[in-house]
Amino acid sequence: MNNEELKRLKKRKMLNSVMHGIFLACTLFGVIVLAVLMIDILRKGLPWLSFDFLKNFPSRFPKKSGIYPALLGSLWVILLTAIIAFPIGVGTAIYLEEYAEDNRFTEFIKLNIANLAGVPSIIYGMLGLAVFVRLFSMGRTILAASFTMAILILPIIIIASQEAIKSVPSSLKQASYALGTTKWQTVTGVIIPYALPGILTGSILAISRALGEAAPLIVVGALAYVSFIPKGPFDQFTVLPIQIFNWAGMPKKEFQDVAAAGIIVLLVILLGVNSVAIILRNKYQIRMKD
């Protein structure tokens, strides 16, 4: 090997090391941003966090402001959204994977679901406004919001459930059919129990997406200022992300820190919901192994 070639080899190796460093830096950028974001929000929000903050109503005065109505609004919307979306989503997935014939129409439904998953969330808000609020005369209520959110997260639940159902070994299904069971008995007795951890994980992730969504509910007509506690599906409402949005947009600087406190509450709930998903998954996975 002459000097020239050696030099080139050295250069190639060096270029590799340099790019290795750059690629690592790209990855670390995301990690650092996440850390900075969390620290920034904790630093601003933690001093405002208290029991009073959780049980107070919003107020003109930052110190008296609380998140109670938004918290209850979010819980109502999420609860109803889950009740509506979960059975429809899982049912659709069972239909597509086990019942539907392998034809063009089924292909069309699948393509349609993939397309819906890519529609911006604010468009779902417009659907909710035109169909649930106006056409079905639900008004700007928790019910209309829940239907809108359910439609929004349906594609996520369907796709996750399909993946979970696909992962059921066909040997298990065949064994069940060999015992003379009907399709539905195999679905309820074999497929659903086996696929449940995957279905639940996907559904809970979809729910946590809905918890953080604000745009569609602004269009549907969540209130900017709520001075009452929502008591049922036909009440008007606000939700946590919209309350945070309002505080962040207020002229008084202190309200930005109140918004940070609201974000902490939202993130803690999201963390809780996601932990439930992980615990459920682990628990069922162990049971299935036995």
Binding site: H20, G30, P120, M126
Partner: protein, 301 residues
């Protein structure tokens, strides 16, 4: 005995049939959703174009639907959206691809196992949080460097949208790169290629169409992103390429109108749906293109 068995079977058959009908109906809900979206958007849009010409809407350079004299040129909103998309793409595409390359080609298994979930958390943070971060942390930083920057500006919002879409680009590109067979890599290594050369000349070209698909999907997400731009980008529809100015995007306009008291059936109410239709069509076309690229990759392998 036989009769009971027979009746049992009969009942079971009926149950099976009922189940199938119910499940088929559920399967149709997704189609009804699409019809619902198209119908609800297009109906009001159609009404809108009865009062405003489609040419004025698509080519007009002034958007003042609430202030006399009213103008209904959507270009300023489209330009605002484009500005956000370009800034976001300049962040999410290189950084997302860089992370994907690192995680798929360079990272030791343990490091990968540690870093991947963190990027997933970044993807799970609600957009309202990024919007807050843009408004209260990124904007002050930009204003320190460029004091003439307005409080609401495209740069800050664009950066936040870019950060939010990094995980989208990185996870999709990484999946594509991980799917490249090791035999191709080993062939190149046997010729004495460095890791960088293997990545650049073997892995990326092989996974290219899926990587491009991830870029397009990130762009589509940036077009539809709402809360970040509503919080940080401002509400002044403007034809500008200066990222330090306050602008308005299509989504930002929809939020602004929805927050106010616009009477049902008024022309302003209809603009909501005209802009929404345009937004829907743009993201739909981008998603179709993206899926086309993914399919191309699947066909190759």
């Amino acid at each position: 005995m036989r009769r009971i068995e027979f009746e049992g079977k009969e009942r079971m058959n009926r149950l099976e049939k009922a189940v199938k009908i119910i499940l088929t109906t559920l399967g149709l809900i997704s189609i009804f959703t699409t019809i619902g979206i198209i119908f609800s958007l297009f109906e009001e849009t159609f009404m809108f174009f009865k009062e405003v010409s489609i040419v004025e809407f698509l080519t007009g350079t002034k958007w003042t639907p609430l202030i006399e004299p009213t103008h209904f040129g959507v270009l300023p909103l489209v330009a605002g959206t484009m500005l956000i998309v370009v800034i976001a793409g300049l962040i999410s595409i290189p950084l997302g691809l860089g992370s994907a390359i690192y995680l798929s080609e360079y990272a030791p298994k343990k490091v990968r196992k540690f870093l991947k979930p963190i990027l997933e958390v970044l993807a799970g943070v609600p957009s309202i949080v990024y919007g807050y971060f843009a408004l209260t942390a990124i904007t002050p930083l930009i204003r320190n460097i460029f004091p003439e920057t307005s409080v609401y500006n495209a740069l800050s919002a664009g950066i936040a949208v870019g950060i939010m879409t990094i995980p989208l680009v990185s996870s999709m590109s990484e999946d594509a790169m991980m799917a490249v067979p090791d035999s191709l890599r080993n062939g190149a290594y046997a010729l004495g290629a460095t890791k960088l050369e293997v990545t650049k000349d073997v892995v990326i070209p092989t996974a290219m169409s899926s990587i491009v698909a991830s870029f397009i999907l990130a762009i589509s997400r940036a077009v539809g992103e709402t809360m970040i731009v509503a919080m940080a980008a401002g509400s002044t529809p403007k034809l500008t390429i200066n990222p330090l100015e306050s602008i308005q995007t299509m989504t930002g306009y929809i939020v602004q109108i929805s927050m106010g008291d616009v009477p049902y059936g008024s022309l302003a109410y209809k603009t909501l749906f005209a802009v929404g239709t345009l937004l829907f069509l743009i993201t739909f076309i981008l998603n179709v293109i993206s899926r086309h690229f993914v399919r191309k990759y699947r066909r190759a392998y």
